[in-house]
Assembly symmetry: C2
């Protein structure tokens, strides 16, 4: 009987322990429920917009005279795409005098889309979605009130999610009164104090609204030096607008809330001693040109015997491409140009990636060290070189790209053969928005931008449109690579060359439709100009 | 003679025209030279730092009492990684009571690196580089002065590169005086006015420093409503700090300069009617498990007959994997896990990508529509599901991740089996920082984060560390996929299963070194804790 009691007791104890363990590990946690619906605006935003409208009505009775040359530069949300008029009517005048041409994407849409109204509505809805998704209250217009007794930080306050930070710079400098009171209000966090000061009373510590008051202004200001903000509603990257008020004066400022960007550091060489194989991977895509690809590889090996070469290959009948430090990737047949580019860069594990076409040839002027040097020593993310044709002419294909706002119809894209400015310290280099297809870039940035795999046959400037606002781009004309000759008489071409040209240069309706869809829908352009 | 004269004249004319054409097209442009060296700080930053230090000395004589429970939450730049002490000494206690373990990465570095001091210095230098590269003056702390007569915008003013914008909200509300004067100064652009107002004189219009003055305060304020800023020094993404001053009062505010983010819009279905094949691509990587892969494909086809499946394959002897809507990519043998993941997602052309492992099985509970629905209707970028083992147990692998600052030694990484909060409107879903390897996500965001191709054998949470601050992550326990059984007795395993386990689970020193290098160097952590 005693043994049985012992056993039962043991079982009860063990069950009890197990239950405790389960409870400890898997207890239902009391969890707050948070709405993360797409939603626009907020009470504070409305309040600020009203204040802004009110103040702009001030002085409305004082007349003004428009200064045309400045006023015309302002963005009116009504951009247009205008082609140059043809002024010189000569044969080949367009070669001698490159003109700006314009392309109406909305019209192109009407030509190909069976339901253009539906597409327009769909685009507007997707764009609205995009704006809600990317908006934070850190983008909102806030105007600091004049003659306010409030002192507060207008930028630079950040806190990691669910963490606490002291709010720097808070103060109130008002005339003496019987009692000085300040209020702080937030919507995604709470206030408290890291230290208390005598003669200051605090209500709402640990809550989203806290009031501090004192009969002694200096004590209140001392207390304000210890005010903390704790983010309590989790979000990986957002902003909380704090209202700081005293009497009839209100001020607003933003606290950025979110995970900080984690660094992605790479080991690097030192200036003058760059280990190219450790720092750079060469990436290319090949199709129907194994002979040219082999020429490229042989030329690389003359100067960089151990640099890794990544090859994306979408041939119908792939052949092996072998050798030390060569990585060969086989894709579905004809998957395409940008898909191949995206694949190749996805495999790079060095800090920099060098893009080359499979019909380039390295020469003694193809000094990758120069490209690494400018990327290491400046804030550039990408630097293009020059591609030399058999004629001796070198192309850098520098372009500037700008986008003007066009309201609901979409924006206007403008591309020009031009560059922004020279670069101090690098005599043959300039800054631009797009360059030729021979460039070295920070691998992480290239992957961030990406090559849209929908661009199967052709694509170049699309990558640089995707790069706007992400990459700082340069171009150096003294890093030169040769282009295996394209100038061939028709009867001199090989069968593979003819196949290649047939595949690549045939302009299909499907391709034009894809271009329209990308530019009209994906980027939300209404028209574009280029020269 | 006359004919010869005509010819000569014609030649001269033609040459003249050609020269004009050349000149017009390729005239050397007068281009400004701009320095884009890595450089830290600026005159304004120093000035603001001094002001900040001065004001924090105010009230220094007033004593305070530290409020411990708040003060201890503040980031001291001295984070630590502490393991839980073992309190219950029972067999399997670590299973019943999961403890927090800690890993000292600096110590691990000392164990494997022949030159740890060199590595530490190198890391510090790369981190310094990263900080310079990512810093803009929009991050700088600015404090608004109390009782200043100046009114100005403290946030929300943006301009595209080289464009012009009206600065909203400028004003000066001071006591009457003989002459009212305000000054505006910038470093990356110039000021002007879009309209002029009588009785206001302007000096420096079109320059980086402009002064407005008037005997009539209301006229001056009217004039201030038309002040414009034009960015003149090109940068794709930066900020200009404007100094706005009157008499002894100064204020500072930021104008963000840069290309706006171009939208990347996709066509989408409407709620309740999602076309999964148009919206989602399924991506996976396979190695040594073609049988399981085929089971996966067959199970997908039962529910989604036309959805595209992208397969990255790094087998030594690849076999064909065919079928409609299947894309099969061959990689170099053993290139690796994360390289395969990065390859697969690089090929996706739909709005969303669904990641699955090659040994998962779709069931009637694997409702992709649910995942699309939450991604369409909230701001989530990624949503994980649940993986059901043969025992019936479903895992969601939800984790929270936080990073604490640790000063020069590096930061502290903390990972916990936990989640942040429930999601309103989605009863079985929560927000977390990491989830299980069955998830749907916005393709562009996944590519932005990327899978580091250096992680050859193992990797999971590294993707989510890279995602911090980039992706908003959720997890829904009601979208379930089955996991082809892993629980097999040793004598029941096939040869391929044994090979797979040997390849995958053998823990090599090389792999541990890679882990240390990534966490210590790439992410700049000094230690980590996890449970």
């Amino acid at each position: 009987m005693r043994g049985a009691t012992k056993k039962s007791f043991g079982l009860v104890l063990a069950s009890g322990l197990l239950l405790c363990a389960f409870w400890h590990t898997w207890r239902p946690r009391s969890s707050s429920r948070v709405s993360i619906w797409q939603k626009q605006g907020s009470a504070i935003k409305k309040l600020l917009e009203e204040k802004s409208q009110d103040s702009s009505k001030d002085y409305g009775d004082i007349p003004y005279h428009v200064k045309e040359e400045v006023a015309r530069r302002l963005d009116q949300n009504t951009c247009v795409c205008e082609a140059d008029k043809e002024t010189v009517h000569l044969p080949f005048s367009h070669l001698l005098f490159p003109r700006v041409w314009a392309h109406d994407l909305h019209q192109a849409l009407l030509d190909i889309d069976p339901d253009p109204d539906g597409t327009e509505r769909h685009r507007a809805q997707q764009y609205n979605d995009f704006q809600i998704r990317t908006y934070t209250s850190a983008d909102m217009l806030i105007v600091a009130e004049a003659n306010s007794p409030l002192q507060y930080p207008t930028q630079g306050v950040e806190v990691r999610p669910l963490k606490t930070v002291i709010i720097p710079g808070l103060g109130v400098k008002e005339k003496p009164r019987s009692r000085h009171v300040v209020n702080l209000t937030a919507t995604q966090g709470t206030f408290d104090v890291a230290a208390t000061v005598d003669r200051v009373s605090i209500t709402g510590a640990g809550e989203m609204s806290m009031a501090l008051s004192s009969t002694h202004l200096s004590s209140l200001n001392r207390q304000l030096q210890f005010v903390t903000y704790t983010n309590t509603i989790f979000h990986p990257r957002t902003a909380d607008t704090v209202q700081f008020a005293s009497g009839e004066h209100q001020s607003f400022f933003t606290i950025k809330v979110g995970h900080r960007a984690i660094p992605k550091l790479y080991k690097s060489g030192s200036s003058g001693d760059y280990n190219i194989s450790a720092l750079v991977t060469i990436a290319t895509k090949t199709f129907l040109r194994y002979d040219k690809l082999q020429d490229l590889i042989d030329s690389i090996r003359q100067y960089y015997p151990t640099v890794t070469i990544v090859i994306a290959d979408d041939n119908e009948h792939p052949k092996p491409v072998t050798g030390p430090h060569i990585e060969h990737y086989i894709m579905p047949f004809g998957k395409g140009w940008f898909a191949g580019r995206n694949l190749a860069v996805s495999q790079v594990s060095t800090k920099y990636v060098l893009w080359v076409d499979d019909d380039f040839i390295f020469t003694a002027s193809t000094k990758l060290e120069k490209m690494v040097d400018i990327l290491e020593r400046t804030r550039l993310d990408l630097v293009g070189g020059a591609v030399r044709e058999v004629t001796g002419y070198s192309a850098t294909f520098r372009h500037t790209i700008s986008v003007e706002e066009g309201g609901e119809e979409g924006d206007c894209l403008h591309m020009r053969q031009d560059y922004h400015h020279d670069i101090e310290g690098f005599p043959n280099c300039v800054v631009a928005d797009a360059v030729i297809n021979f460039f070295m870039a920070r691998t992480d940035k290239v992957r961030h931008v990406g090559f849209d795999p929908r661009l199967a046959r052709r694509g170049h400037l699309e990558f640089f449109i995707d790069a706007l606002g992400i990459m700082h781009i340069g171009s150096c004309s003294d890093v030169i690579i040769d282009h295996a000759s394209k100038i061939k008489l028709p009867w001199g071409k090989t069968e593979t060359e003819k196949n290649y040209e047939r595949f690549r240069y045939s302009s299909s309706g499907q391709e034009r439709n894809l271009h329209t869809e990308l530019f009209y829908f994906k980027y939300r352009f209404k028209c574009m100009t280029s020269n």
